[in-house]
Amino acid sequence: MSKYYLDYLDELESEAIYVLREVWAQFQNPVILFSGGKDSILVAHLAKKAFYPAKIPFPLMHVDTGHNFPETIQFRDDTLKELGVNLIVGSVQESIDQGRVAEEKGKNATRNALQITTLLDAIEANKVDCAIGGGRRDEEKARAKERFFSHRDDFGQWDPKNQRPELWNLFNGKHFEGEHFRAFPISNWTEMDVWNYICRENIAIPSLYYAHEREVVWRSDSWIPNSEFLKLEEGEEIVTKKIRFRTLGDITITGGIESDADTLEKIAEEVSGMRQTERGNRTDDKRSESAMEDRKRQGYF
């Protein structure tokens, strides 16, 4: 009988496909939140498998902060073409122009928190009832409490202390009009699982994840890429380094690491030896002990 068991990556893959199909069955108007980062690429890849030979039956949604790596946008557009799906863009710049949000001020100003309003506006405007995300429980302590199907009230807020119990694989996506759900098909994957799977399936990812020469500046313990948004502080200087990115967020806040890993195998190898969490290079999470929880309560990814 011993051959009737799944390798853990196969089990995670089947679990994620189950969640994606469940979203399709329980909701009218779902979208996949797509940032062009590895986790959302993985979710799109799994969705392709979940509905094959049909196309993915819902669009991708990108919350565009305007502070993108150009490579990410190119990659996003290539992915759309390959999958044959539509794209919905929520633009943070538009939210700013319309006065919905105001640009942060100060030294470490980012557009990270502004995304919340843009995301919720886009969800409302497009009558989205379930936004599928690439969030993983191993990422952060507030995320460790997430359900596969996570309820958001009509203000888009998460109430972590009052979540619906989720037993076996019976997910309850029932909701009232105006409320929506977030679904997290790769909840149970770790960063290492993601890389091992990307490697195994040879999934295309943006070049930014591979080691490459880039102009960077040393800030907050990591290499922040040079861009039109970068303002040099006193004592900082732009240098060229061989680096790669472990996660992709806004170009203004995503720190790179020095690396020679230029193949998927080398990346997986490198990640397995890492002694820092992947979000350790994201200044957005360093603000306070509950930075993620606070943002998530308001409606963040």
Binding site: D7, A50, A54, P165, L170, N172
Partner: protein, 418 residues
Amino acid sequence: MKLNNNQLLRFTTAGSVDDGKSTLIGRLLYDSKSIFEDQLEAIENTSLKKGHDGVDLALFTDGLKDEREQGITIDVAYRYFTTPKRKFIIADTPGHIQYTRNMVTGASTANAAIILIDARHGVIEQTKRHSFIASLLQIPHLVVCINKMDLVDYKEEVYDNIVKQFQDFSSKLLVKDVRFIPISALLGDNVVNRSKNMEWYNGAPLLHTLETIHISSDFNSVDARFPVQTVLRPQRDGFIDYRGYAGRISSGIFRPGDEVTVMPSGFTSKIKTVEGPKGEIEEAYAPMSISMTLEDDIDIGRGDMIVRSNNKPEPIQDLEVMLCWMNNSAAKPRTKYTVRHTSNNQTAMIKEVIYKIDIETLGRNFDDKDMKMNDICKVKIRTTKPLMVDSYRENRATGSLILIDENTNETVAAGMII
């Protein structure tokens, strides 16, 4: 580190504030090198701020702001670690009586449960409650860790007495596999490494036990059950007449050529193809997500179940269920609820509460029939249309259900079909 052909083990740990559960999880993560430097640094800072000596491993399991402030676990938290032998998912649940529902939630997907006993106190009510829930949820393997052995001078008699106490009481439970390990989570004895302080213990340390528990034969390979989640109908060239029935296999094995029956309609056909995530396959088994096509064009949709024709589940409308109530508002008899069973939704009514389990004594109370938050009761439920069920003891996937309150949309109860 390349990990191939590794299994996933999901286990639950139940415990309350002082029995060392958080310390044990912290120890497993720390000693298996699953903790990152920045996490360690954060914990060191917090330990210092709180005035603890050294690093408080328990802080690794802190979650939400309120939990940190109150020093308790409120909700289920999931944690992950990997060794060269297996990948582990821990469902870390609070152990206090008022969180029974969270223990039940964590237990629902677990292959194994760790029960922690404080060596100074032996088997207490909480131990019984946790073991009962593990048995109720049919977790196949129980690992009883007798913790804080350092505080009883690592004495063998203390351990032996507690093992005996536990065996006396657990003979009434339905657990197939129980193991005992004397540990000190705080000092690391028998957690990852074998303890030098307890040479009298011949068994394996906890981690090795978790790495080697045989789980492949826990799944039900006999009763082939495939609840249809959704139907794939690609509107594109080459697939015009294609109808793929997509879902996750609950139990058993399906192969092309198998004679199958669609429940509840009773139509029969043969499996034409089975497609897994990597393409066409010759056999599929739980918990694989697949899609299958049949030889005949039959009307099949979500909520239907495809089964092997020579082994069908029972379609029934009157169910006896062990129900755990999970909502702040108590159960209302004769109110309509939505029952969710596999991919099927039906309207249902709780006809009768037969008895309530006294969670302190594990006795049956035939007088108090109010079902409130955290209560576990044996009830009779009637559904408007038949459900295709197996008993929970035989099949966790087709023997389980949840109730949803139609007025609030909340999940109010979890049930195990008897």
